[in-house]
Symmetry: C2
Subunit: 354 residues, 2 copies
């Protein structure tokens, strides 16, 4: 099969981890006789430096022409003093809008080889398998008006949702729950926010269409503690943009490191794939970054953009095997393990397994 993948490596550790993910995709292509092409383009801080904007038009064009977009990470402390609209992150938010994917899928799996790696007790995380469905194009991230007036000292952001925006992502949540353990946990702050009341009412309205799915509503504050206290009880967790950002990062506690978490954004013109971790400027360029989040993200490319489920599973199995062999980058060298593997070595171990 033919697949044209845009590579937006971005800032910090982005290029390193994306490099390993691309190697894995190439190996899958060679083994299966597939024709994968890769086109690189700039985003984030590197794009600001090179072209004065975090999302050059060329990057938009390449991305929209691709079958899938694989992004590394975006963010650079160098630009911390800029307002949100000028920062590297603005490029990320803009490409999300251009591609149109509204359902950001963030799986959180407890890897048995890493069960001692988490600050949570092994019996709490054993077998955890949660899929976050985070709405990605609405809420406080994009709501207008938004401003910070340095003269008056007034700052405003707007959380806004429409019913169709909630419906389309809720349908995806329900459908994914049907294919999994048939439980949907919808998270909001409906005791305070009108937006959350819209979310809750909309999910309730759709419920009869999915009679096999059990629906539960949780407040975001409660969920922040429940997610740690009883992660095994969750299946699909559906929520708005910012709550999804916070809770999915928190779920990194379960795997022991954000460096293990992949994501895929579906529902738009072109699917967007990005590991959950950030650009980690403190370790960039040192070969210390964990490429497994990016490699697992590559597996999601195969699953959601190429229908290559077996190949996706093979990558996930290879990652498990490599972890079982005791290979550890710094972020997952806990619970007695020592950091014994660099970014490229870790990538190579996965290739060897495949």
């Amino acid at each position: 099969m033919k697949l044209n993948i845009a590579i937006l490596a971005g800032d910090g550790i982005g290029p390193e981890v994306t490099g390993e993910a691309v190697k894995v995709l190439k190996a899958i292509a060679t083994a299966g006789g597939h024709d994968f092409t890769f086109t690189e383009a700039l985003i984030g801080g590197v794009a600001i430096t090179a072209e004065g904007t975090p999302l050059p038009q060329r990057t938009i064009d390449i991305s929209l022409a691709a079958d899938a977009v694989l992004l590394g990470a975006v963010g650079d402390n160098k630009f911390n003093s800029l307002t949100p609209d000028k920062r590297p992150e603005a490029g990320l938010l803009a490409i999300r809008q251009h591609l149109g994917g509204f359902a950001n899928l963030r799986p959180c799996l407890a890897f048995s080889a890493l069960s001692n790696n988490s600050v949570l007790k092994p019996e709490v995380i054993e077998g955890v398998d949660i899929l976050f469905v985070r709405e990605l194009l609405g809420g406080l991230y994009f709501g207008q008006p938004r401003s910070w007036d340095k003269e008056t000292g007034l700052a405003i952001n707007t959380m806004v949702y429409t019913k169709p925006e909630v419906e389309r992502v809720a349908h995806i949540g329900f459908q994914l729950a049907q294919k999994r353990k048939k439980k949907l946990t919808q998270v909001d702050k409906a005791n305070v926010l009108e937006c959350s009341q819209l979310w809750r009412a909309t999910v309730e309205e759709l419920k009869p269409q999915y009679p096999d799915v059990t629906v539960e509503h949780q407040l975001v504050d409660s969920m922040a503690i429940l997610l740690m206290n009883q992660p095994k009880t969750y299946d699909v967790v559906l929520t708005e943009n910012l709550f999804g950002d916070i809770l999915s990062d928190e779920s990194g506690v379960i795997t022991g490191s954000l460096g293990m978490l992949p994501s895929a954004t579906i529902g738009g013109k072109v699917n967007l794939y990005e590991p959950v971790h950030g650009s980690a400027p403190d370790i960039a360029g040192q070969g210390k970054a964990n490429p497994l989040g990016a490699i697992l993200t590559a597996a999601m490319v195969l699953r959601h953009s190429a229908g290559l489920e077996q190949e996706a599973l093979a990558i996930e199995k290879a990652v498990n095997a490599v972890l079982a062999q005791g290979h550890r980058t710094a972020d997952i060298a806990k619970g007695g393990a020592t950091a014994n593997t660099s970014t490229t070595q870790m990538g190579q171990y996965v290739l060897d397994e495949l």
Copy 2:
């Protein structure tokens, strides 16, 4: 000393836990020859039922005339279909506004007797001592415009902060850090939100006034994972209303139960004291609720509204002792322990210790 305390027991387990806290305050008064008076008033669901409004004028008057307000909990599933402005929680938000306290202090201490009670490994939580300073009168909770139009399906909330609002609570954060381990962690989402940029810039501006305090900024998504991975590294955590709501609830993972967490809101006309936990309608009236959060909240009344620091410490010591003796309500009966104590028994054990 004379202290006039308004008791707003509220909904669910509110009356049960507040009852135990009042007994403890009475014991302290008797022992020290203090003159504490208690005036009860309605708030939340019980106020809606009795008077058709979640915050009757009489409750406002009693609260404003008091030296301190001790609140139980607010919230009742019976009213779930009402819009935010008509729900029990509206009474809580309104009393917060009337009293004017903007700095909500939420200490999170790891109790050594409960070190096996948390899903976190004992070595991770040992000695944790965090003080959350949550801004309580701004942000999404109160911002205008806010609406949910069921016809058009559009919902809006507004996050808004002014520089003076950030300054006044930041000063409290800095001053508390000075009295503690001199570290202030300010949490925001400055890579996306203008409001967060105001927060970050304001804290930076005040920093030179507190040269002995080390300031660190964290993004709220990162903080959600760091708070679990390295809770010992935090001292004072300063943040806006909603982020504080989420993170302080999450910190209940450290004590093992929300039922252990107290809070005090200072800076306004009258200080407001409330345990962090909710009304827990599922266990209300069954004698299962943990009164220790409310009892520790009573200790905060003595500390912040009466200057009775020794007496506050005595209560905290008594709570530790009672836990060390193995008394457990259901929420803290984990790690091999069984629930062997009712709400009133637990209160009595604390009284016996005092």
